[in-house]
Symmetry: C2
Subunit: 439 residues, 2 copies
Amino acid sequence: MPAHRVVIVGGGFGGLHAARALRRANVDLTLVDRRNFHLFQPLLYQVATGGLSPGNIAAPLRAILKRQRNCRVWLANVTGFDVQNKQVILDDGTLPYDTLILAAGARTSYFGQDAWAAEAPGLKTIEDALSIRRRVLTAFEEAEREPDPGRRASLLTFVIVGCGPTGVELAGTLAEIARHTLRQDFRAATPREARVIMVDLAPRVLGAFPEALSSEAQRQLEKQGIELRLGAKVTNVTPAGISLQVGDHEETIASSSVLWAAGVEASPLGKALADVTGAAVDRQGRVMVQPDLTIAGYPEIFVIGDLAHCVDKDGRPLPGVAPVAMQQGTNVASRIRARLDGKAEPEFRYTDYGSMATIGRSAAVAQIGRWQFRGMIAWLLWLFVHLIQIVQFENRVLILFQWAWNYFTFSRSARLITDVMPEGHIPNERQPGRVAESR
Amino acid sequence: MPAHRVVIVGGGFGGLHAARALRRANVDLTLVDRRNFHLFQPLLYQVATGGLSPGNIAAPLRAILKRQRNCRVWLANVTGFDVQNKQVILDDGTLPYDTLILAAGARTSYFGQDAWAAEAPGLKTIEDALSIRRRVLTAFEEAEREPDPGRRASLLTFVIVGCGPTGVELAGTLAEIARHTLRQDFRAATPREARVIMVDLAPRVLGAFPEALSSEAQRQLEKQGIELRLGAKVTNVTPAGISLQVGDHEETIASSSVLWAAGVEASPLGKALADVTGAAVDRQGRVMVQPDLTIAGYPEIFVIGDLAHCVDKDGRPLPGVAPVAMQQGTNVASRIRARLDGKAEPEFRYTDYGSMATIGRSAAVAQIGRWQFRGMIAWLLWLFVHLIQIVQFENRVLILFQWAWNYFTFSRSARLITDVMPEGHIPNERQPGRVAESR
């Protein structure tokens, strides 16, 4: 009898953990992804701010899975599903499965205002991170040559929409760059003139954290000179800046660098699967899954990670974070093994080990179980947890070295403005919002 | 009296060495570049083959020059020169000088066949290197999914045009990747099926080296399974492959990855300067300079590096290599200091310390003074010389670590295919020659 064919769509935290947990199972495993690498998204903001290179936080899927002989990696683009014939539809063929694990993740959401995407890059991909890096560094470069004070102020104003962990990490690092890293680098403009402004509709930063840690994070952000606009609704984003509504009050901030860390929506593959199976999707496009992570009527189709809407025992949806995806991946793998062995499937129950966010140099907040941490201790905890999770040993050591170096020297060596210009062309168009946004 | 204004165009080896050598001079120095970083070009082939990340071999010009208070860095695009009014013309302004140092370097030349550029990327910029990396890795990925043996062979055939040091280094590394790095990574295609073919019109590899080292390099290349087509003229390059003429014999090689390491031509700024000063340019567009590195009639304009046609005492033009540019940069700086002090200018005489090329793992050839080296010793020499030259301490250590890691594990961690696709799009179009060549 040929081995049971398992197809995993997506090589993020969920898909990769499912694949790894099936390494000793008698299955014929195919991991399909549009990209040839696994991305360690929690450190993407470090690439966006020049502290790490893309190669430091991404590892080729083939390299991770090279010794897992029951698994092949397929670089391909999934466009839909033929659930009757149990086939994944690719843009150039099909891929048959006996069991399907859909783990295609999420992408940046502009809440229906897709026109804002061109003005305010999100932070979900390597290309996003390099686009933000290019935009921020170009703004400092142009400020150095800009004689008009108003225009220079706009260049040196960085607005971050979204006060979740990603927004807080970006803001903290930008403030650090302006106040320390670039201090001696410029002659005319002063990076210390830079303003970093955070915007959120929510009344507090890190809304998913306990209130005490929220206020601690806010205190640390303000200590770094970061301005907060809480309870503020974004009404427009243009190349000239961003418009906000705070209560009855309206405000327009001139800024050439608006960065978007505000929200995500599910991969369109969730909707594609729902359309052919009758499964429901929630407002963010996530597929509603049953307690066993399958969709109703299709026991052979699992949906996990950011693409799944899965509720805990109190009926609250689980957050879109890496630990949920990893635990779901492992659970699905155990279920598949149990089915093949004719045993009972293990229940899925999410264990929340806590959450943490870093706020620049030596500052962070963390909740682990019932304990709360802040400042240097939280920062070291954050460092430790992230380092041990990075997939490959090499990356771990390199990143540790790079961080140690950055920490002690205030340097950020990956500050390259790349991908801006064809030969003989211009890196410094006067509208940074318009700098060639080729990918 | 205001300080003497020196403008340096170009932050490569020549321009940067000139700037550094002026650090104690009483000058008002501006270094203009289109890019915000200095690129260590000798290691670019390592980025193209996934061994190093761009951040490892590039350092922000501002970071290098941050403590040099008499120097400012200007990220701008130079479009021409107003030599009467002593101004450099930018696309958005002008920059006055008392002394001008033009060090704008060279770019890939297709010998008038510009249409080939799209099919056969060169290796002069970070973007070039990432484009080659994308093309090579995509070819392996597509071969894995390609059922047709002919098409698979074409995907796994890599043709390198040019047998100088860059071509030899690229070929050696590609052979190493196919035979070692990727050996376990694929299931259907076998990377060991890969062919690496080198093409050159010259009758031997490394034509600028002594004959003994040329034959040694050829022996080492062939030992790695690399095929050589010497005395071969390229007659066409298309998405399907490359056509050659060897004597009366014609040959077409089906290949989806033709890489161009064959020639360079001067930056168009050389021609722009010649047009307004009446200076002569040679066939590659290099400006003919006088023994003092100025152009006739304009003692305040120096041209150095790959952009200068400068002859040694026997009348032979100096090669376009980093040591020439660095020594010229230092000499021009000394001349400027001498002029300001009313002293005699030091003569320029190029000291040739030798040349070296690496041929993949533990193999290299080197000539240093009258000594010739080969094999492991030459390779260690090559490693040593390149490491001590990299500008920033940090990069040096990181690269050493990365190399040690790559060497002992056969791994190449920066194997990321990036910049291929807008959201929801396709990384694997069936024509790799046509994969979105966005920069």
